[in-house]
């Protein structure tokens, strides 16, 4: 097996606004199974960071444990990273985001890492609206430990060994909306046309951005009877297409009137949602929950930007914390001296 990715790249690779090529956002060669959906998500994240021209060293990747949580090694080799313990990535992400609010945080987790062991942490990450992009590579199983059903496995889905799942699966997107997440999307690893702009929008969003990505496990959950296989997912997919135009970039594409709905993010970037004629509104929480539920009832997997509150206040803003990263504060700011201490104490008397 090749453990080295050749150094050569296409000589005519495009450059982004920073002068980087997409190869500058590559990571190590993947050790996941050939054909794993997670590798496609890695590529989508890499492409999204390249397209949005984020300097690699201004990104931090955080993850827990699982095949999905191994992903950060395989993209953005020049970024910061922390591979934490199972289900505990939210604590690390929260701490990091408080310490350095200037970085772009990308959390990568699995359905096991998030919906089982990590559920208690995940829910607080949402509640606190930590400014990060949180991607769940959802394969309905514990891939790394050989494919046991996870908490997101659908009712009636057949495991590779033949067992039929007797439990209702947790729908992470609905859960996130209910708990007040300010950006909720869903997508499919095999649909980069949708996933890439969705990740770009999530990274531009100010607050907690959650994306649930169906990501087939080719080794343990890609057989007939599995509801999260490539073919079953493709058959039931109901994608809502979108484009992402970052701030200050000229809007070049002309859309036919009535076919598109635009949402402007706090930083001026614009998300164009197509198929808007269906009347879908991204800022309607109840509507979003209804749409997802009706989709589920009709055996359709609704994907796209499901809910967005563009005016959300992230944790740092909400707690009125330092406006600059802690590592940029000087001695005077960190130790303002006894005079300031005295005045604080005075105020407390």
């Amino acid at each position: 097996m090749s453990y080295i990715k050749p150094k050569f790249r296409h000589p005519r690779l495009q450059k982004n606004a920073l002068g980087f090529t997409v190869a500058d956002y590559d990571g190590a060669i993947s050790t996941l199974c050939a054909g794993c959906g997670h590798d496609s998500i890695s590529a989508a994240i890499r492409n999204a960071c390249f397209e949005s021209a984020i300097p690699p060293h201004r990104i931090a990747k955080v993850s827990g444990i699982g095949c999905s949580s191994k992903m950060p090694t395989y993209f953005l080799g020049k970024s910061h990273g922390f591979n934490s313990v199972h289900g505990r990535m939210p604590s690390v992400a929260t701490g990091a985001s408080l310490a350095n609010r200037a970085l772009t945080y990308i959390g990568v987790s699995g359905d096991g890492d998030t919906a089982s062991i990590g559920m208690g942490q995940f829910i607080h990450l949402i509640r606190r609206n930590v400014n990060m992009t949180y991607i769940v590579a959802n394969n309905g199983c514990y891939g790394l430990t050989k494919g046991q059903d996870s908490a997101t496995a659908d009712l009636g889905s057949v495991a590779k060994g033949g067992a039929v799942n007797p439990f209702d699966g947790i729908d992470l997107a609905s859960l996130a909306i209910l708990q007040g997440a300010s950006f909720v999307g869903r997508s499919f690893s095999g649909d980069k046309e949708q996933l890439e702009p969705l990740i770009r929008a999530a990274m531009a969003h100010n607050g907690f951005a959650f994306i649930d990505v169906v990501s087939p496990c080719v080794t343990f959950n890609n057989h007939t009877g599995s509801t999260k296989s490539y073919s079953n997912t493709r058959e039931h997919l109901e994608p809502m297409a979108l484009d992402f135009v970052p701030m200050r970039e000229e809007i070049r594409t002309q859309y036919a009137e009535g076919s598109t709905q635009s949402v402007t993010l706090h930083d001026g970037s614009v998300i164009h949602l197509h198929k808007a004629d269906s009347g879908y509104k991204t800022d309607d929480r109840m509507g979003a929950l209804n749409a997802i539920q009706s989709g589920n009832d009709a055996d359709r997997i609704l994907t796209g930007l499901l809910y967005l509150d563009p005016n959300s206040k992230d944790l740092n803003t909400n707690l009125n914390l330092a406006t600059r990263p802690l590592n940029e504060l000087g001695r005077r700011e960190l130790c303002p001296g006894s005079k300031v201490l005295d005045s604080i104490n005075e105020g407390l008397r």
């Binding site: 790249r9 005519r12 060669i29 050939a34 794993c36 890695s42």
Partner: protein
């Protein structure tokens, strides 16, 4: 676009850039791998089957393969294909026992006029079939220009003797020191077919330049002068020499002069340096031997004083390029430049000459003096039993082209002698075999190495200039050869796609280091090329398009910069991609001349 027809051998053939560019279609990556495995004899014989003169070509080939080499598109320099060929020749064992023998006589007699690479190739290809072959040459030995023109410091006589010998030892009847002065006489001799491989022997002169007649004693036609040197008719030249011309003959003239007593040797050429016909490496070699090349100088006059040549006058010019691609050399209007000299070598081109072929033979010629040939597959002339090849066919070219002509002409002669149609030609030999050894294991070194190309080491300059026969290039040693061989990307390890197996997981597209693979909607080629992840701008390289996949998309692979690294096939969960070795062998009169296991 329509799905690619991979059953057409030309599709994969074109992807092996070097082999495709080689006129004789030598299976380059196949022999380079054998060199890396130190199987030099096998590497040699693969070459010998294709190009007949591996030792000669490994030193002198014009190497059209190298500018075509894929490696040159992903980094600075192509694989050192030519000099690796020499490695195979240098380190092989005695291979004589493995060479084919003359076949049982088939009763047919063929005359070969000229003993250069074209005729020798025809002989090599026909001898195993039992043809009685009669080779005529005006010289006392065979080899043609390889012997009379290419200086021995580039091509030692032993190397040439050995490879010419392999052919002649297959029972060829030689008629040396025999200048054929009448085609009619040859035709009277009841040959079943005649092959003309007499080259393009006439060097161009400057007959009307002032002073030409008066200075004749010190003005030499490069072509004649080199052959006089080769056959020891001349052993010295004046101290100050001007060589006129910018082609490879000029380079050999100047370098030979440096070894024959020339101390102040200059090449003076009409065109700008970049436009010179000589190969870049030949120019470098000349400059390395202390020979200045003065460009943009048009000869005006041989200056003669007291009946003796004292120098030459040149008009300084500038090249002006017109919109239609035409180049014009416009005088700068400066004073003419004068360069003193003792001798001048004129190496400004060569021409075909067939004074010995009578009109009555029915062989017709074009207005450029080349024979009218049926087409560039058959090489049949306007007279059905006479075939041409090598420089005699379309004018001066090179050894490997002469060899390629020889292969095709031999096929034609064989078909003709059997009374078969010349247009119904045998197909090339093609095999396509999976290289899978295990789940993620290939039978070749699939990971491209990062090593740079290095030049072949040379003998000490002073020593080199002191001898006409001392070979200048030392060749690669086995260690260097290994590193250079490993640079080859194995372009014959083809990525073969079976659309029925594809589950569209994108794994191949995601891993491909050079962004070759795309899953997208089908379209017209021009538009599709623009729509790929990296637009496919190299129109010389094909797109590989699959059948429509379940999602409605197609797979489109731009073959341009594929590294043949096999990662797409390694990352494919369903073996929709496989790496398969494509071996292509140009059709020859004797198929399967060499079987290497």
């Amino acid at each position: 676009m329509k799905p690619t027809d991979t059953n057409d051998p030309e599709f994969f053939h074109k992807i092996v850039d070097c082999q495709y560019a080689c006129p004789a279609h030598t299976p380059v990556p196949e022999y380079i791998r054998l060199i890396a495995q130190q199987r030099y004899s096998d590497a040699y014989l693969i070459n010998w089957e294709s190009n007949v003169f591996p030792g000669v070509l490994g030193r002198t080939c014009d190497r059209p393969c190298e500018p075509a080499c894929r490696r040159g598109r992903v980094e600075e320099e192509p694989v050192a294909i030519c000099r690796l060929k020499r490695v195979a020749a240098d380190y092989k064992d005695d291979i004589t026992a493995r060479l084919p023998k003359a076949g049982k006589p088939n009763g047919k007699k063929i005359a070969l006029i000229g003993g250069g690479p074209a005729s020798l190739t025809v002989a090599r290809d026909l001898a195993p079939l039992g043809y009685e072959l009669h080779l005529y040459d005006a010289q006392s030995t065979a080899g043609g220009f390889m012997r009379s023109e290419i200086p021995s410091f580039r091509l030692p006589a032993e190397v040439l003797d050995e490879e010419v010998g392999y052919v002649l030892d297959m029972g060829v009847h030689t008629h040396f020191d025999t200048y054929v002065d009448s085609m009619a006489e040859i035709l009277d001799k009841d040959y079943d077919a005649v092959f003309v491989g007499c080259g393009a022997p006439r060097g161009r002169d400057l007959p009307n330049l002032p002073g030409r007649q008066e200075a004749d004693a010190n003005i030499h036609i490069g072509l004649d002068w080199l052959s006089n040197v080769a056959f020891d008719h001349i052993d010295k030249i004046g101290k100050r020499v001007i060589v006129l011309g910018g082609g490879n003959t000029a380079m050999d003239c100047c370098r030979t002069s440096r070894r024959m007593g020339g101390e102040d040797v200059k090449v003076i050429v009409r065109s700008p340096y970049a436009d010179m016909k000589a190969s870049p490496w030949e120019k470098e070699d000349a400059v390395h031997e202390g020979i200045p090349i003065l460009d943009n100088h048009v000869p005006m006059e041989f200056v003669v004083e007291k009946g003796k040549l004292v120098g030459m006058k040149f008009d300084k010019v500038e090249a002006v390029y017109h919109k239609d691609g035409r180049r014009e050399l416009v005088s700068t209007g400066e004073e003419p430049a004068f360069y003193p000299c003792d001798d001048v070598l004129i190496a400004i081109g060569q021409e075909n000459a067939f004074p010995w072929i009578e009109d009555s033979t029915g062989i017709r010629f074009t207005s450029w003096g080349t024979p009218i040939i049926n087409d560039d597959e058959t090489f049949q002339s306007t007279r059905k039993d006479v075939f041409f090849g090598g420089d005699a066919a379309f004018g001066p070219s090179n050894i490997i082209t002469a060899v390629a002509h020889g292969h095709k002409a031999a096929v034609s002669i064989d078909l003709y002698c059997q009374g078969k149609q010349l247009s119904k030609r045998p197909a090339p030999g093609v095999t396509l075999v999976s290289q899978k050894m295990g789940i993620h294991e290939w039978s070749y070194d699939s990971v491209p190495t990062d090593d740079k190309r290095v030049a072949v080491p040379l003998v000490d300059l002073k020593e080199a200039l002191s001898s006409r026969d001392l070979e200048v290039e030392l060749g690669f040693d086995p260690q260097a050869a290994f590193v250079q061989a490993e640079r080859c990307l194995n372009c014959d390890a083809q990525t073969v796609f079976t659309s029925g197996n594809c589950i569209e997981c994108d794994a191949c597209a995601d891993i491909c280091p050079t962004s070759c693979i795309n899953f997208t909607q089908n379209g017209e080629e021009e538009e599709l090329r623009q729509r790929l992840m990296v637009p496919a701008e190299n129109l010389e390289q094909d797109l590989y398009v699959s059948e429509t996949l379940p999602s409605g998309k197609v797979l489109v692979k731009d073959e341009d910069v594929c590294l043949h690294c096999g990662l797409c096939a390694e990352r494919c969960p369903t073996a929709a991609w496989d790496m398969q070795k494509f071996l292509y062998s140009m059709a020859k009169a004797t198929p399967d001349l060499m079987v290497i296991k």
